[in-house]
Symmetry: C2
Subunit: 339 residues, 2 copies
Amino acid sequence: MADSKARQVTLRFIADELGLHVSTVSRVLNGRADDGARAASGDTATRVRRLAEELGYQPDPHGSGLRTGRSKLIGVLVPRLSDLVLAMIYEGIDEAAGELGLATITANSRDDEETRRLRTRMLLARRVEGLIFGDASLDSGFLDRLAADGTKFVLVNRRAGDHPAVTADDRLGGRLAAEHLLALGHVDAAVIAGEPYASTGVDRTAGFVGLYRERGLPAPRVLHSPFDTAGGRAAAETLLADADRPTAIFAVNDFAAIGAMGAARDHDLTVGRDIAIMGYNDTPLAAELPLPLTSVAVPVREIGRRALVLLSRLLAGDEIESERLAPTLTARASTGADT
Amino acid sequence: MADSKARQVTLRFIADELGLHVSTVSRVLNGRADDGARAASGDTATRVRRLAEELGYQPDPHGSGLRTGRSKLIGVLVPRLSDLVLAMIYEGIDEAAGELGLATITANSRDDEETRRLRTRMLLARRVEGLIFGDASLDSGFLDRLAADGTKFVLVNRRAGDHPAVTADDRLGGRLAAEHLLALGHVDAAVIAGEPYASTGVDRTAGFVGLYRERGLPAPRVLHSPFDTAGGRAAAETLLADADRPTAIFAVNDFAAIGAMGAARDHDLTVGRDIAIMGYNDTPLAAELPLPLTSVAVPVREIGRRALVLLSRLLAGDEIESERLAPTLTARASTGADT
DNA sequence: CTGAAAGCGCTTACAG
DNA sequence: CTGAAAGCGCTTACAG
């Protein structure tokens, strides 16, 4: 009956229809269906719920938000959603949010301080109840100020300062990578370490280099680069142009590793035989690449889910603590393993 | 002065502070700064604006939304944000939305009918003013019903029925691919066509096959598959297992093409020499792959931007028409070109 | 040019 | 168990 949605149905409409007061209808609809007779007589409650259901009543968040001061909106800031890792983390966040009756609004900061400030301001103007930052910089000045203003937030993927964060154990991940390459005899390795302001790359690098140090080996060479394919290619280009080039490259990101594979090819090196290359995050691509990529897997979706849950607990007034999830390494052909 | 945000600043607060009525303050702040004396005396206007600025006043969208019935929120439904193409389109949408003072809420449908219904309902419950669907199915029943209910929406990337859509000219893109492969002498080609419910893959395939027909050549074999690496690999596996396998494969998606490259490698075929493989979308990865991938570029970000603008015009009551943007082909080593 | 009032849809003490 | 009232923050005719 293509009944053009002339009018959104409101509490008042339902109340009038049933000869009740809006407050009664509100009480019924807000009380949980299973808690018996609390809000109204069983009969009234049933009639209200039936009609609400039939009319497809959906409370107007402007009304309830204005009244309660709660928007049920969470802001999520990421460097860029077109970064697969962040997109997957965001999917986890949004999934968990939906389960808790929250919705998310997201924005890209492109790891730019000014954009970060502006977008955060925009999210706050929308009256988000809390924020999740996936773009934290190790220089946490911005976050420190925000926390001082009383804004509630949780970090995800990257840590910064003492702010509550859900991350993977990146030091451990770097260590796993080093163990793998050392087991294959690569005493001469290099690291494509990502951006120096991101804890992910920094910690993975520290874990990696740490193990080489412990073993009394010369410290691996460390090169910073953007977290993408072009960045990885350029960094590897530099490493391979060197006279005594490394026999193994650990890139802290799969896309950078793919770029490094390209550079190796340009130098007529067969990856997995002439040189070992490994990545990080174990994106779905890694296993399916023409030459499968050894990588360290991080439970990204779960990290996103937990960040949202942590934030919701923070908003509820609970004490919260940072969480750190364990990474796992999968060896594949790009390091000569499992060919 | 870590002045904990005890209280959000409201129109009333500013009004009281200045000895004015809230309605006056509202009028000043809503009138555009440059239209002179309209809303209040120049002096009053200046005082109001100065204080609002100083206090960092941000109107509460619950208040204005309730009053005006406009949420300034747009809903965006995509199959999955972890699909790079959709993530980039979404970035374009969000960018344009920001410029128009709109915010977006997004949700994944995973191309599942029931999820699509539920998530759309959730977005509508949030009182989005309009929707952008990036997950349209050629079977447009769901969208037809939505349109009949008076919901305003625009499609992006995939078309369906007569609903307004911003897409690339996928038929033309498929044709460009066929021209490229035919110019290289590949009379025996196959298509990895993606999901049969998505207009993108269907149209690209139709354009591709159409040119072969026009030239009086046998119709290329067409295989459907998921739009990802694993899907492309499986489809290529089938094609290459065949006795008279094709000399060229056109995958309607770069990730599927990468999967196909993997399958070719498993068959000891050197891509670009023993077999030509090309993709679609020209994702940033394509050019940077160890073996660079020939691909058809689509202006995804621009498509996203235009979809948002189109929707905003629709919401303003304008007549709107679908838009179709032109694709371009870049030849690379994977088809033996430009090695 | 500015004020005063009404009302958007909702929730929540307060009565009875 | 149910009603009546107040008020969240805002905008917008309507006066004057």
